[in-house]
Symmetry: C2
């Protein structure tokens, strides 16, 4: 039998047990001749634990802010680890980076009820003076209210945006408010504000403030506060005008470098045709980035490693990229590692050789759906993929994949097709960009379900000659 | 019907709804003539919200470390609030205090995997040098292992105790490890250690380190780290000897003062006979202390306020004490406010007038059991109390109450009887002494169940002439 598992409602271990029973008696009715190998890969992934080992190895380095020593050390380890796992053409592609690092930071309500606030600076923010910025706060319940405020209306004030982050499975809630962090400081500055403070982009209620990058080059210092601190600020404000003091002393950004780490399984028949998968190696400076994104690196690398252990390589080349500098923004934009790779490949004329691309960068929740490129819904590949993935609790989402994760955006812009294995991110923004993004948040059994889906789908695509650009 | 509610398994609102139905049709069969008023108080408490208002008011002041401005402000507000609620003889009893305050603090693994650690200093710890203490760590899985280490064996090292805190309903798990925090630094110093680092006394897995007082006068700086940091330390230590650096720069303690805030409902027949209840006004410096112990103040003050609203006072006097300086230790010991009160009362010869005493200082979970003083199990009071409390999900615990909460220990030592309304503390040590002890952790409906139990029992005792010393 092949029952459908509604994965999101089951614990990881229940999924494993259910699969152990369900798959053992599965009768394969594959119509693509190479699909039986995908089934084997799926089932082997559920009994493997290499993804968790990679996550543990990578998080041992602690926070891996792009351009820092820990980032470089982790990259060197990653290259060595890839070689050990059987990858070919393993290389570290360095590129320059303007490196922003955090300094001392603190916040407080000065009046009417003096007390400290748990705040963190947004990545890329300029520093305050040594003694901080002290000013009256103007509270906006929503982002739109700030946008509606007239020019000059915030002169000499601290703009505070209190809008909470909706909890959703797909991350659409985060998407609906993420511009507050990226555009908020610039919009506040345009209205005369001397500093910007926002409720963290997070769905939790812990005393942790979520960091994350804001647009570089804005002139006012920018902070996020924990959700309970935002609520306290609202309560305090009922008793009179609020004065705040914010201190944030990051050193001036310095010119440095970071890297992408790349390894391949060279295709046996069509080695020039490349499938690009991976996760990003850098993390924010406040945590070891277990969910964001050691998990994605572990999942995709483990999936390729299972294929590396097969007696034959697939027809096409699988390229695993541990992307550098996904988190931090640069004066010219974000995704520095992904841009560097896409530009390099473009200069070499190799973009047309990129068959398809996807990244795992949404934590370690169970995969619940698959998107394929436009026009792929009614194909034998889609049907075969779903025969193999459905027992993992995955359904087919008929919407075409227009993106495949942040680090493949530059490739997609150059015309490379993408697929998505969508993870359940209901809890993702409880930990994202906070000190709590640690290995404790990862359920090894759920990680295995991810690896199983990636390995199976990866094989189906890599051992085929399907053109996703049609 | 009077069904028994297994409160711990129900959400607060379910309890309220169940009680709303159950109590409306309750047939009172009271054998103590004044018990019907206790039933009324119980039911009115469930419809009241004054406890939550007090918690909100007190936590507005933010952290209330004993001897700080916020502590003094909160006390002044408390006295005013008590007067507003109808209390008599409201007064602030000041007493001197050596005030320890936190300075800059941080920790890091220096090798083999350099990374920051989330640490906090234990209250009362001496400072490190400006550059911190850097030394090799000696890891002890349990407290007993440290005690078993020979003299001199830790010379020049940092002693690290990794023992976790068991999760229990009554707090016995915390009790089983709390001496690590209080005695650990002294025991480590006696074996030559230059610093002390422990896994937080906490049942959570957040990146929060739990503070709390250690013995004052020990010569080595002492820290706690978050539970995930303790786990990371263990993983890192598998790769070689661990060097740590710990920085903690509290200023030298200064002579200051703090206070107990006291209000009374003077008894109509036996005004000299006093029942003492309350919670403590001070909190640790890392949070607004909603659970520890604004909740206890809210619960006991609200219970007395409901009695204050009755047309008559009870026979005996009810004295509500907002205890000062429960958290911090002094060179001569802890519980400075409770000791000051007990000594003052003793000097006045008024200890024999203290009928009974109890404190609410274990958060805001549902009350699940009652302990009365020795010899009270087979009495009409116990039976009457249980007729009234059982529908709240409370059972009678036949073990005699030998204590009534930390701040009544000095009274109990002088022979004052105590009772306990035991709260479910299963989650209490997830938040205790961490930045996360905020009002978000409090369920108003559970708070109301507490007030209902306190108000009913308080009336039964205060309107009686029962001698608990027999």
């Amino acid at each position: 039998m092949r029952g459908r598992l509604t994965g999101g409602m089951l614990s990881g271990s229940v999924v494993l047990v259910a699969l152990g029973i369900g798959l053992g008696s599965a009768e394969a009715q594959n119509t693509l001749p190479w699909a039986e190998t995908a089934v084997e890969l799926r089932d082997r992934a559920l009994a493997d634990n290499i993804a968790y080992e990679i996550v543990e190895g990578l998080t041992l380095f602690g926070p891996r802010l792009a351009g820092t020593d820990a980032d470089h050390r982790a990259a060197a380890w990653g290259a060595e680890r890839m070689r050990g796992l059987g990858f070919e053409n393993v290389r570290i592609e360095e590129f320059p980076l303007l490196v922003w690092t955090r300094g001392e930071e603190r916040g407080e309500i000065v009046s009417p009820y003096p007390q400290p606030l748990v705040v963190t600076m947004l990545g890329g923010s300029p520093a305050t003076p040594l003694e901080g910025v002290e000013a009256e706060a103007v509270l906006f319940e929503t982002w739109q209210e700030l946008l509606d405020a007239p020019e000059g209306s915030l002169t000499g004030r601290i703009a505070v945006v209190l809008q909470p982050t909706p909890r959703t499975q797909t991350g659409s809630g985060y998407g609906s408010v993420s511009q507050i962090r990226f555009q908020g400081p610039a919009e506040a500055e345009a209205r005369g504000a001397v500093a910007f403070l926002m409720r963290s982009l997070g769905t939790h209620d812990r005393r942790s403030a979520n960091t994350g990058s804001t647009r570089m080059g804005v002139g006012i210092p920018s902070f996020a506060m924990s959700p309970p601190d935002a609520e306290q600020l609202v309560r305090v404000a009922r008793h009179g005008p609020v004065r705040l003091r914010l201190v944030g002393l990051p050193p001036d950004p310095v010119q440095g470098h970071t890297q992408n780490v790349i390894g391949e399984l060279v295709g046996r028949e069509r080695p020039d045709e490349v499938i690009v998968i991976g996760g990003h190696i850098d993390s924010w400076d406040v945590s070891p980035g277990a969910l964001d994104d050691a998990a994605g690196i572990g999942i995709t690398t483990a999936a390729a490693k299972l294929i590396a252990e097969l007696p034959v390589r697939p027809r096409r080349t699988i390229r695993v990229v541990w992307w550098g500098a996904e988190e931090v923004s640069q004066p010219e934009g974000g995704l520095a590692g992904a841009r560097h790779y896409a530009e390099t490949q473009d200069e070499l004329g190799q973009i047309p050789d990129h068959v398809i691309a996807s990244e795992s960068d949404f934590g370690a929740g169970l995969i619940f759906s698959l998107n394929l490129p436009p026009g792929m819904a009614d194909t034998e590949l889609a049907r075969e993929a779903m025969r193999i993935l459905a027992p993992l609790g995955i359904h087919f989402d008929s919407a075409p994949a227009l993106s495949g994760g942040p680090d493949v955006i530059p490739l997609v812009r150059l015309g490379v097709p993408a697929f998505r294995l969508n993870q359940d991110g209901t809890d993702y923004f409880d930990y994202h960009h906070t000190p709590d993004d640690t290995i404790e948040r990862i359920d090894p059994a759920r990680l295995d379900q991810n690896v199983a889906a990636w390995a199976a789908l990866l094989w189906l695509i890599a051992d085929s000659d399907i053109d996703f650009r049609r």
